[in-house]
Symmetry: C2
């Protein structure tokens, strides 16, 4: 599967991997070493046409150490998480090599990994998910592993929890699992993108502001100090996971949207209930909430056109269906048309919905002030193998 260049005896393989944005949020680990979560989560994989990490993994007897660069910057790979991924992948390759002695001994060679994101790192998108998914997928390709995406998701999870959900396309759940060794804590496909291809997303990227607390540190503070968190993890999320899977199977946008908004707010509520409190949403985020509510208030049947969700930062991700593109993205284009991001093929097609919505003047001004760019995307597929190598 991997290409080999006899000239310099380098073997290489490349992949693209997608970003995912959860609608039932991962927050809290029951095992920090293995990245085992306190509750299940569910995400939409976003299209790699718009957001992706491109990674090439190569190995050679001539390499003298493992190394990783991201956007041309050398990265530290000595951390336990990266090391866990490399160790597990090498071990699988070593098993292959044991069973078939004709295979080249790639497991004993050093690895060179080169990654590039096609989106600004400063955008505060969950780049570690796409990053670790791409790293694991690229090395699995390099090593010609027959592991399934679910098998690989167990490995990627150890690099960054939410990375396990970026190994598949469409609508992806990460089950909590019960085992202490993490063997049953993996991602699975709820439905492929083709089941419900009309899902669209607009990401409102908030102007760079120092993040309150890293999600790695923040989630464990929440586990340790919030009086509400255990109730969320044990009672609230399990019911919502079932309801969200059903909404996806039924292509029920109303249920999907209401659950998404509730779960985002519930997650941020446990952040606020942390001691000291963690604030990821700011006044710009709140303005985005109000704008989505105003858009939904236009629905003739009292249903929803759009659903907001916020990760561990102020950016709003707004999900909607293709049929409502002008009603949702069109309102934001009318408001934020001057910002970066509308010149993409998707952006150009969106019709501006003219005229501010009643009662949203304050929220509109806040958004103009606080949003620096928009990204338009949709549900997409899982990692794509490519022959386009970065080194």
């Amino acid at each position: 599967m991997a290409s080999s260049s006899s000239a310099d005896d380098i073997t290489r393989a490349s992949t693209f991997a997608p970003v995912n944005i959860a609608v039932i949020k991962y927050w809290g680990k029951r095992d920090t070493k293995l990245n085992l979560p306190t509750n299940a989560s569910l995400s939409v994989t976003l299209s790699q046409d718009d957001l992706r990490t491109h990674t090439t993994a190569s190995c050679s007897p001539s390499f003298t150490s493992d190394c990783l660069t991201l956007n041309s910057q050398p990265q530290d790979i000595s951390g336990a998480r990266t090391q866990a991924c490399l160790r597990e992948l090498r071990s699988l390759r070593a098993d292959l090599e044991s069973s078939d002695p004709s295979l080249p001994k790639l497991s004993t060679q050093h690895l060179k990994i080169v990654s590039e994101n096609n989106f600004p790192t400063a955008a505060g998108l969950a780049s570690s998910a796409a990053g670790f998914a791409a790293l694991v997928r690229a090395i699995a390709n390099l090593y010609a592993l027959s592991s399934s995406p679910t098998d690989l998701s167990r490995i990627a999870r150890q690099g960054s929890g939410s990375a396990c959900r970026s190994l598949m396309g469409g609508y992806v759940a990460w089950q909590k699992g019960e085992q202490a060794d993490g063997s049953d804590s993996f991602a699975y496909e709820v439905s492929p993108a083709s089941h419900w291809p009309d899902m669209r997303a607009i990401i409102l990227v908030a102007s760079a502001e120092k993040k309150d607390v890293s999600s790695t540190a923040g989630m464990q503070q929440t586990v340790a100090t919030s009086a509400l968190f255990a109730h969320r993890a044990e009672e609230v999320v399990p019911k919502r996971m079932k309801a969200m899977e059903k909404a996806i199977h039924d292509r029920d946008f109303e249920a999907f949207a209401v659950l998404s908004m509730k779960d985002s707010n519930n997650f941020h509520a446990t952040c606020l209930d942390t001691q000291p409190p963690i604030f990821y949403m700011n006044d710009t985020s709140r303005a985005a909430v109000r704008m989505v509510e105003a858009i939904n208030a236009l629905h003739p049947e009292g249903k929803t056109y759009a659903a907001y969700t916020f990760d561990a930062g102020p950016n709003a991700v707004v999900y909607y269906l293709a049929q409502d593109e002008d009603m949702v993205a069109g309102v934001f284009k009318g408001l934020l048309g001057e910002k970066t991001g509308w010149d993409s093929p998707r952006g150009k097609k969106i019709q501006v919905k003219e005229g501010a919505l009643a009662g949203t003047e304050v929220a509109g001004e806040k958004l103009k002030e606080g949003i620096s760019r928009v990204i338009l995307t949709s549900v997409g597929d899982g990692p794509r193998k490519t022959e386009e190598h970065l080194c």
Copy 2:
């Protein structure tokens, strides 16, 4: 007790009543008609030297209807809540008149109630608590009722829930009660102000911004839609009430402060978990949180100098002890010395703590931008009878 003027046959009585700011928050009713809460709450009564409602109640055979003015503006008193208070007080007076026929039949006369607040209504302070406490106390004085503050608290509660806690001084709890008729849902004194007189408060009044949702509407939306609220009401608050009463009995500021901050955050977390979400804290409020955290980080023993708490609005109330006045209020004076409020006798005495705290530049700028005035006050006593009549 009430003064009577034979010339025009008017009987009158006046009182001052205090504001209270809860440290264990009231949010949610189990009975909206009787204002019966879903959980107990606990507050500090603030000094009437700084914040108070002054109310005169008068009655006369010549009056042709009940009326109420607040700050010279006529108020609607036809609402069920005001009517419930008037009805209960009249009924108690009628009982007195039945048992002693020599008493003037004040219960059959119309009431004229005149109220004035000595603080700006726009400040968004909980003026309804002081207002209903003053109304009930003034009429009880007028009627020469022998009812205890606890008895009166049951009546004031029906006007505005938190008003029941303004009928006493010092540290006051409002017990939830179990009875359907509300007979056991009243306020009681945890400790008088004299038990722990060193408690101080600085109120950081945020620039006027339209309130998100009224607390009356907001709390019932939370009860109806939050997945976390019942857990707060049933599990979290009962434990905190006990711990807070102990902290007050022990004059343990550390415990008082930590519980206050946790409970404020917990309450706002349930607001955020409401559908649609309710946001009372804004970026200015968050900056106040960060500033209090920075002040506390200076404590040589890792304890706390100050505790923030937020009601249903963006204003921060920061509690601290007299001995730490310069460390807490002094920091805010250094930062916000240009704002209204420092020219009071309390304010003039505060020494500016020079130099911004490390890492608080952003929070400091946000506060300068978002805070319009400060109010300096302390724990205080309960309603004070006065011969100073407003009409």
